[in-house]
């Protein structure tokens, strides 16, 4: 019977759906048709596959070939169905035994010469296959093998060419060609050469932020509680420097988070090739000309995750935040609120996780020259207010810690030398504080203090009685707003976690207030 079945995976966002590829060869007009919502890249598969099969020394069936991708309602995008279709065609033609592709998932793009090319999104695809009992083996391009091997419980077959793939399927690996397909074992690549690429860039350290003790503390609090952070200051004060160092004090991603983050980066195609699992919290600093689609995700063909999702479990740093387009800043509200982005396109809506720590940086005025008589800034107060006003509103409402960085004087540099701590020291405290918060928040939807909504905070986690006396007093003086009080309480919890106290008392509330009031008004 000239009908063959193989399997591949369609990706919707970072979720894989198993797709069955059916190939039927029948009498009729010679040609090949693809059915089942293929996109342009997939429709072009016809020509690629034909060339690849012919160039691999196989016989192209000169009959009518119908390729169906099911479920037919699911839009299928991308070029990674090539391998599955090519194997299907050869199986239907009878040149590959029917049983050979049982339990095997195919994932790869074919070159015209029969080369198997690496593709994006291998990790979520293999994860989808692993979740399906019918599959125990996945065949991918050599370059994708380390990524595929991240999913436990799947046998990974790496193949360099269609020839190697067909030989393996016929049970005669290495019959033709010099690079036979074989099972990939994580670690075997390591022996081939230097893989654990040593960071050529010098490691960043928080201690380099000398003279900015408030800023260092704010970064620590932000990292420990997942609080969004706003940095205000003239150029050269160290805003970017500080933001870049926040990942160095964040704890490494746990296994689950690492897979989540790696899956997103896999779909975006930004994984490092050799050691694909991302265990360091990502740091994303999109340029201020970035479009909405670049920040929250989108695109017309394959929906790609944006910077907000790529920064999942890490830091999204918006330098020169007021320069970002208004709609871009507004689009960040949904991920800040829900921890995920939903991008709707025709036929499908895609969800990308996006739970990041937002770090905003802004100059006090648009001319980006330092204020002061000698520095040359001639912006009027109205201009400055309007400039920073672009940030106000819903976005700034979510920021718990805001600090102002000022250029450091020589005296402050000198005095701060005894206080500066290395990233390592601070990271240990942060990890402990996060552990305490997670323990306390056990059984709630939240894991970090920064995620707790204000109403819940007031109801369930008030600070110790009387601890807020001074805070209330400054509320009455108009130094802070009612919303500011909520933020002070939220940050006070993180400070208590950092100090190992069971509940914020006066001291913690005062420190939090100091951080909050540390901005000129």
């Amino acid at each position: 019977m000239p009908l063959a079945r193989t399997s591949s995976v369609a990706l919707v966002g970072v979720t894989g759906h198993v797709v069955e590829v059916e190939v039927d060869i029948a009498n009729g007009l010679v040609g090949m048709i693809l059915v089942g919502l293929p996109d342009t890249a997939l429709r072009e598969a016809r020509d690629r596959i034909r060339a690849a099969i012919t160039n691999s020394g196989e016989q192209w069936p000169q009959r009518k070939i119908t390729v169906g991708l099911s479920p037919a309602s699911l839009p299928k995008r991308g070029s990674w169905f090539d391998l599955a279709i090519a194997v299907g065609v050869l199986t239907a033609a009878g040149t590959i035994p029917r049983a050979a592709s049982d339990g095997v998932m195919f994932f790869g793009e074919l070159g015209l010469d029969g080369q198997l090319r690496p593709v994006r999104g291998v990790l979520p695809a293999v994860a989808a296959a692993a979740g399906d009992r019918r599959f125990d083996t996945v065949m991918v391009a050599e370059q994708n093998a380390p990524e595929a091997a991240l999913v436990p419980g799947m046998r990974v077959i790496r193949a360099a060419t269609l020839i190697a793939a067909t030989d393996w399927l016929r049970g005669t690996p290495g019959l033709r060609g010099d690079r036979p397909a074989a099972e990939f074992h994580p670690g075997q690549e390591r022996a081939d050469g230097p893989t654990a690429s040593p960071d050529t860039a010098p490691a960043l350290d928080l201690a380099e932020m000398l003279g900015q003790s408030m800023a260092r503390r704010a970064a620590e609090v932000s990292a420990a509680g997942g609080h969004h952070l706003s940095l205000l200051g003239p150029p050269g004060a160290g805003k970017t420097m500080l933001a870049e160092r926040i990942p160095t004090i964040l704890p490494r991603l746990d296994a689950k988070a690492a897979l989540e983050v790696t899956a997103i980066h896999s779909v975006a195609g930004t994984l490092p090739p050799k050691v694909p699992l991302l265990t360091d919290p990502p740091f994303l600093a999109p340029h201020h000309t970035a479009t909405k689609a670049a920040i929250v995700g989108g695109g017309s063909g394959i929906i790609r995750p944006g910077s907000a999702s790529l920064a999942h479990r890490g830091v999204l740093f918006l330098d020169e935040a007021p320069e970002f387009a208004r709609d871009v800043l507004d689009a960040l509200r949904q991920p800040l609120e829900a921890g995920e982005v939903v991008v709707a396109r025709s036929g499908v809506s895609t969800r990308f996780p996006a739970r990041f720590t937002l770090v905003l940086a802004a100059n006090p005025c648009p001319c980006a020259r330092a204020a002061g008589p000698a520095e040359g800034c001639s912006c009027s107060p109205a201009t400055r207010r309007r400039y920073l006003g672009r940030l106000s509103g819903p976005l700034l409402d979510r920021v718990d810690v805001k600090i102002e960085l000022e250029p450091v004087g020589r005296k402050e540099l000198l005095n701060d030398r005894s206080f500066a701590e290395s990233s390592h020291t601070v990271a240990l405290r942060v990890a402990e504080a996060r552990g305490r918060a997670a323990h306390r928040l056990h059984g709630t939807p939240w894991r970090l203090n920064g995620e707790i909504p204000g109403s819940e905070l007031r109801r369930t986690w008030p600070p110790a009685p009387g601890a807020l006396a001074v805070v209330e007093r400054s509320l009455e003086r108009g130094q802070i707003t009612a919303r500011g009080v909520v933020k002070v309480v939220r940050v006070a919890w993180t400070i208590a976690d950092l100090a190992g106290r069971p509940r914020p008392a006066k001291d913690e509330c005062h420190t939090a207030l100091g951080l909050w009031l540390g901005v000129q008004r």
């Binding site: 004087g409 009387g466 001074v470 007093r473 400054s474 000129q520």
Partner: protein, 398 residues
């Protein structure tokens, strides 16, 4: 439960009298000074003059006045609810407070024969305790933004220090004063010229609900009675009498607030007025009572308290039930009350200009955590503020 159980016989009679006679009726006031309320009520119902005791109808003229009053009161007899109806009026948290009750404010007795027969009260606070430390704050209904702002500010400051604001629940200054007190969680009393169940002005229904929740709404008129022009003037004497002093915030030349001021002056209570622009017609009355009646010019809560508290008595703390501000609020520490670290940090700040956080820490000889905590306390308490180069001392007057 029999009617007499919930309201005693005399209280029941007083309740009935509030229905029969307009408050401030001198004839009834004089009668109540010598007769039991129940006897007066019985006499009115019977149509006879109560007794011929001493002081009662001594002269033919007063006899004649009493007869006229009797016919006046008797004309309302058909509309008087029976005892069950009177008790039923005490629903929805409405209660009757009579002279001699533990809750009766002593200040009202200074009105003599013009004192209310009884007060209908709505709200949970203790009326007498609330009135012990109270200020009336009244003024124009057509208040300017300035007047409403000042009234609100002073009322809030007074409320914060445990003073109860008494006002008339009208638009303008009255509302601003009530709202100012409510804003800081303090108790406030609205004295109405209609039944306590009747929201006048209707736009203040929400305000009255807030006042009932946190303070008291009181009236000499029984529930269900509508306001009338003259009743506001009669009401004003109660406002002046229950409080320790009266503040007029904005009043035109012919404002009703001046009527309250007159009562306060007559009762010998401190009379205060907030000045306004000399060009403002809304402040003309205030300026006149300062000039002609010797009202004290006040501009802030401290001035008011200074007028009300005897020399040497503590002006700040709240002591009475129902007037205590919420426990979360507390005054920031004064310089002498700072803990040792905060005092050190405060001393470490340069006298002029600012200093960075680490510099202050090194100067004070404390670690970074401590200095951040202390800076927060000091900034929150108003000692220091942020500047271009870190932190600096705050000017004392700011």
């Amino acid at each position: 439960m029999s009617p007499d159980r919930r309201l005693g016989r005399q209280a029941l009679a007083r309740a009935a009298l509030t229905y029969l006679a307009e408050p401030g009726d001198p004839a009834l006031g004089a009668l109540l000074e010598i007769c039991e309320p129940a006897d007066v009520l019985t006499a009115i119902k019977a149509g006879t003059l109560p007794g011929t005791g001493p002081g009662c109808g001594d002269s033919p003229a007063s006899r004649r006045a009493l007869e006229l009053a009797l016919s006046r009161w008797r004309s309302r007899l058909p509309r008087l609810p029976d005892d069950t109806g009177l008790v039923a009026a005490c629903r929805d948290g409405i209660r009757l407070v009579c002279p001699g009750d533990p809750e009766w404010p002593g200040g009202l007795d200074e009105l003599g024969s013009a004192r209310p027969y009884a007060l209908w009260v709505r709200g949970h606070a203790n009326l007498r305790l609330a009135c012990l430390r109270s200020v009336s704050m009244v003024g124009a209904r057509a208040a300017t933004g300035y007047g409403a702002h000042v009234a609100g500010e002073i009322a809030a400051d007074l409320g914060e220090r445990g003073w109860v604001i008494v006002s008339g629940g009208a638009y303008g200054i009255d509302a601003a004063a009530h709202r100012g007190a409510l804003a800081v969680g303090a108790a406030t009393i609205a004295v109405l010229a209609c039944g306590v169940d009747y929201a006048y002005p209707a736009g203040h229904a929400g305000l009255f609900a807030d006042i009932t929740a946190r303070g008291l709404v009181i009236s000499e008129w029984p529930p269900g009675r509508h306001p009338a022009r003259l009743r506001f003037l009669i009401r004003n004497r109660t406002i002046a009498a229950v409080t320790c002093g009266t503040v007029i915030v904005e009043a035109g030349e012919r404002s009703g607030a001046l009527n309250t001021a007159r009562h306060a002056a007559q009762l010998g209570k401190p009379l205060m007025a907030v000045p306004g622009p000399v060009t403002s017609a809304q402040s003309a009355g205030c300026h006149r009572i300062i000039r002609e009646w010797g009202a004290t010019c006040v501009t802030r809560a401290d001035d008011v308290i200074e007028m009300l508290v005897p020399l040497g008595a503590p002006a700040g703390t709240a002591t009475t039930a129902g007037t205590t501000p919420s426990p979360a609020r507390g005054a920031a520490p004064s310089r002498d009350e700072l803990d040792i670290d905060s005092a050190r940090v405060l001393d470490a700040l340069p006298a002029r200009g600012g200093a960075g956080t680490s510099t202050i820490a090194a100067e004070a000889g404390v670690d970074l955590d401590t200095v951040l905590r202390c800076l927060g306390l000091l900034a929150g308490s108003g000692f220091i503020e942020r500047c271009d180069r870190g932190w600096r001392l705050r000017k004392p007057h700011a």
